[in-house]
Amino acid sequence: MSDVLPTLPGLSATGDNADTQPLPVETRDEFDVEISGTVGKPFVDNPKMASRNCNVYYGDKQAIFDVNLDIGKNEIIAMIGPSGCGKSTYLRVLNRMNDTIPGCRVSGEHTLDGEDIYSPDQDPVLLRARVGMVFQKPNPFPKSIYDNVAYGPRLHGLARSRTELDEIVEKSLMRAGLFKEVKDDLQKPGTGLSGGQQQRLCIARAIAVDPEVILMDEPTSALDPIATATIEELMDELKSRYTIAIVTHSMQQAARVSQRTAYFHLGKLVEVNPTDQVFTNPEHKLTENYITGRFG
């Protein structure tokens, strides 16, 4: 194994790491590193969403330990980490999707625009309209493309007339970069599209309710590189209007799309830093081990 940190594609080779002395890491230590709090900069000014002392339990088993994290306005934050470290679990805390899992308990304070999202008078239905979600596997409803996108607006009564609904559907498909491909087939089933198109349809469906935050749980893991590229471009465009939190197993993807990166390990948030710093000069040894491919 090389002692020099490999430069990841998509990052400038002349980064800070050129003159940083890479730490020789002993294999035996890799898993023994103490995780005491989060290193880096988990907090931002004026965050869109924030978590303090977040703990999540599945029955007796704790899946998330004391996570403190801010998500800034109109930023894309990437969440990376080995399988089973709790990325999905944390993401689902943010729109209370964990409520639907029997035995799942969430503690700590979680806010959206400073409002407590777990307070008793917060309606989870309203929260999920404001914090949308895109899942790992494309999951269009077995209905027409039009009905897929129109489902959310209909549910929340966002359109007062058929023409208004048509507009919302068209605009959402346009923003998701799918409109050109499907504009003549709006009444065809959404499940008949290709995998990449289906995922963009799911993104269109999520943005049709005009959420403020979009949570994406490995949105491209089922897609080929070209479809992935389309969706990454799309995220870049969506950034101007929405705040996006994306879970990914592809470090290249995290590097390409995100401004900040959060590294999770065994249910703990280890490091949060600007993306280029995480991939060139990680602060924590575990982060370094992960991005150099020593585990994960």
Binding site: N95, M97, T100, P102, G103, V125, L126, L127, R128, A129, G132, M133, F135, K137, N139, P140, F141, P142, K143, Y151, G152, L155, H156, P189, T191, C202, R205, A206, V209
Partner: protein, 428 residues
């Protein structure tokens, strides 16, 4: 060395494996052949026995509607016309046709060439047109069941007279009638338009069909919504690992295995004796069959709901749908083909059920066609049971015909299930 020997070992075992596979396939083919053979035998016997029942013998008579015999004339009021002596007129016309009849036995036999419904037919015709009185008209009347059975070859005329239900003198009359073209076999509409009767030639399935229809209606209207709601609650809303929920689940599964006659006893004790639901009615029959059908529908619906991909539910919840909205917008429509299949299987079972209905009085002889769910009624399988129990020869073929009609309805129901499933599946 070792690799060669293991290759040989595998080769040796391969032969055995293929042989086993071939044998297994053979078992399958054999068992399918045996079961289809049984089915063919069953269908063949039923159809060959039942087909003659779809035909019926009619007798043509020249009836002189003499006012003297009838006791009324053409200007009489309808009430008098209604109670005029039509049977006498028919008897007279038979006597005229076969003059030499002597003795009480032969006279009775002569009268019994035609069904006793002939007088009522004649009455209806006269009521329709009173001007017929005083004229001689040619009418077709239903033949008595013995004549009908003879005409369909059910009685062998070569047997010694003492072994036949049709005596020599009757044979003479029949031969004469045939020679004059006064005997005719027609399609048996009575089977579909009449209720039950003690006289085979007048007995029909309509009463049982309507009884089954009303009973099934009650069963469907109760068991479908209750079953689907129970399944949806247990699958989607009930707290998991809760002792009460587990207890209910176990009971539902056990109920599916309870002998159906127990439901009949329960219905008798609870619905009739305690709640006072009128006995022998499709209402109480439907209630009892609902109890019997519910476990089937609940179990099938739960399986169907469980097989809806969770990702679809997550997508809906993630967009801000409530759990009830998710259920009604996505889970139930997607589960509907499975739910409908289960429902129709349950309904088909209920349609063929006899034992519990015997307990609640639906085995009574009911001649009137029921017009609502609270009229006394019987159902098709019970009709089969009643007819198979009747001594008259003519009921034997009608029993088979009734089975054919019942099977026909089952086929229609199963086709409906397939059609509904296709229809729901095609939507997406």
């Amino acid at each position: 060395m070792s690799t060669i020997s293991s290759k040989q070992k595998i080769e040796a075992s391969l032969k055995k494996r293929y042989a086993r596979e071939r044998r297994f396939r053979l078992y399958g083919v054999v068992s399918i052949s045996i079961s289809s053979l049984f089915l063919m035998v069953l269908l063949f016997t039923i159809i060959s026995k039942g087909l003659p029942a779809f035909q019926q013998t009619w007798i043509n008579l020249d009836v002189t509607l003499s006012p003297a015999l009838l006791g009324v004339d053409a200007n009489a009021d309808p009430e008098a016309l209604f109670s005029a002596k039509y049977a006498k007129v028919i008897k007279a016309s038979l006597k005229e046709m076969f003059p030499g009849v002597k003795g009480r036995k032969q006279k009775r036999a002569l009268k019994n060439l035609v069904s006793n419904s002939a007088a009522w037919d004649l009455r209806d015709k006269v009521l329709e047109n009173p001007k017929l009185i005083g004229t001689t008209q040619s009418f077709w009347f239903l033949a008595k069941d013995d004549i009908d059975v003879f005409m369909k070859g059910g009685i062998d005329r070569n047997l010694p007279e003492s072994d036949r239900r049709i005596k020599d003198y009757q044979l003479e009359w029949i031969d004469k009638l045939i020679a004059e073209g006064r005997l005719e076999k027609r399609f048996n509409t009575t089977l579909f338009t009449a209720g039950d009767s003690r006289e085979p030639e007048q007995a029909g399935m309509l009463g049982a069909i309507m009884g089954s229809f009303f009973t099934m209606l009650v069963t469907l209207l109760l068991s479908f919504p209750i079953g689907v709601a129970a399944a949806a609650y247990l699958e989607e809303f009930a707290p998991q690992n809760n002792r009460w929920v587990d207890f209910i689940e176990i009971n539902i599964n056990n109920l599916a295995a309870v002998p159906s006659i127990v439901f009949g006893l329960l219905g008798l004790a609870v619905f009739i004796n305690f709640f006072g639901v009128p006995r022998s009615t499709p209402l109480v029959g439907g209630l009892v069959l609902t109890l019997m059908t519910l476990p089937t529908i609940i179990i099938a619906s739960r399986a169907a709901i469980k097989s809806v991909p969770p990702s679809i539910k997550e997508a809906a919840i993630g967009l801000g749908a409530s759990r009830v909205q998710t259920l009604f917008h996505h889970t139930l429509p997607l589960a509907m083909p499975g739910i409908l299949t289960g429902t129709i299987i349950g309904m088909a079972q209920a349609l063929g059920e006899t034992a519990p209905l015997l307990m609640i009085g639906m085995v009574a002889f009911v001649a009137d066609v029921p017009g609502s769910i609270v009229d006394p009624a019987t159902v098709m399988p019970v009709q089969v049971y009643l007819w198979s129990d009747s001594p008259e020869r003519a009921f034997t073929e009608r029993t088979s015909a009734a089975i054919m009609i019942l099977l026909g309805f089952l086929v229609i129901m199963n086709s409906a299930a397939i059609w509904l499933r296709k229809k729901f599946e095609r939507r997406w």
